[in-house]
Symmetry: C2
Subunit: 216 residues, 2 copies
């Protein structure tokens, strides 16, 4: 039992290190030392640095899956939801994403994922397959429902731009903080950003709905 906890601890430290310094920048020596164990235990359990990295990706996928489950699973029981309900769920998902992206609690996860997005390795497929793909497809479906669109390609582009507003909070954290003249992303700043993103989301979805009805 204590062993299992130690493995979790090692993985969490590994994620923090990989997130901060990248795959090459992080050192197995440092990770092992921080976890209070010998470096060779990484070799034993994960086969090496690369194995540890992939295990970290799986761990993140599982954690994020758990975190997002409440707002995603809901869609499974969607026999036929209306446009208003679909839009509410879009807002729920984006809010959950904002919370995850902005919170310091999951800073390491988001940084790890962001690094993979920019320079994908095998780890990206695991994370994408774990939940991200499902979540994005769910968003596409919801966009189609709430706008009345049948064109999933257009819906996908809408999802890209909608999530872009959220991702920028982490991907360009340094710029966002400079622009907002802050040192940290406190709860108030997150709330302000969230309300503006929600309003933008409505504006974008309304535009898509209107274009469908009146393709002028």
């Amino acid at each position: 039992m204590a062993r299992i906890m130690l493995q979790h601890r090692l993985l969490e430290i590994a994620i923090a290190e990989f997130a901060a310094k990248g795959l090459e920048g992080a050192s197995t020596r440092g990770i092992a030392a921080a976890a209070g164990t010998a470096m060779s235990s990484i070799t034993y359990h994960y086969g090496g640095k690369e194995g540890l990295y992939l295990a970290a990706a799986d761990y993140i996928a599982a954690q994020v899956c758990q975190e997002m489950a409440p707002v995603i699973d809901e869609i499974d029981l969607s026999g036929d939801i209306g446009a208003i309900e679909a839009r509410r769920r879009i807002h729920d998902i984006l809010l959950q994403m904002i919370d995850t992206m902005a919170s310091d609690r999951s800073e390491a996860w988001s940084l790890f994922i962001m690094r993979e997005q920019m320079a994908p390795t095998e780890a990206f497929d695991r994370i994408y397959g774990g939940l991200m793909g499902k979540m994005l497809e769910t968003l596409c479906e919801l966009v189609c429902i709430t706008t009345g669109l049948n064109d999933r390609d257009t819906a996908r582009i809408a999802v890209i731009t909608l999530t872009g507003q959220v991702l920028v909070l982490r991907a360009s954290r340094a710029t966002v903080l400079k622009l907002m003249k802050r040192d940290t992303m406190d709860a108030e700043a997150v709330a302000t950003l969230a309300s503006h993103i929600a309003a933008n989301t409505d504006a974008i979805l309304d535009r898509l709905s209107m274009e469908r009805q009146d393709p002028a």
Copy 2:
């Protein structure tokens, strides 16, 4: 003269390496070898790996500055432009950003900058100070003009979300390509994305204009 060209070549190779592998992942030996010179010349010219990295940041700042100059400098002669002209310039700047973010030509630049955004070092200040800060403040100003807003804080948040739609094209390139079921970002895909981003931009700016007139 040939020496200067060699330094430029070395810097460009360094940028590509740093962009692809990060500061720790890139190797001075590899960079020097690819540039056809000895590793110690890096020490001589830049003082070491860190110095080369900062020089690469300055080089990028200068290049991006040159690239964006046409759409930014325009604002300098803005005695009093109208709401329509301001909005046109916002679209111009975003289009230029999309082109820079999406094109393979400047892939290394954007990756380098993205890495700095996620984990800022001294290099970030150089890039931000070089042009990015000025460009973002220009965008804020234009948003205020085109929406009639006096609240620059709101304008800054609008700029964050507007640029977020663009940045996601590079920051989450892997996800975007998966969603769009493509292997590469060809010109047609870029054009489609650009037109949707432009429409979203209008929707967001219209929303801000309307809220100002009717803050219900």
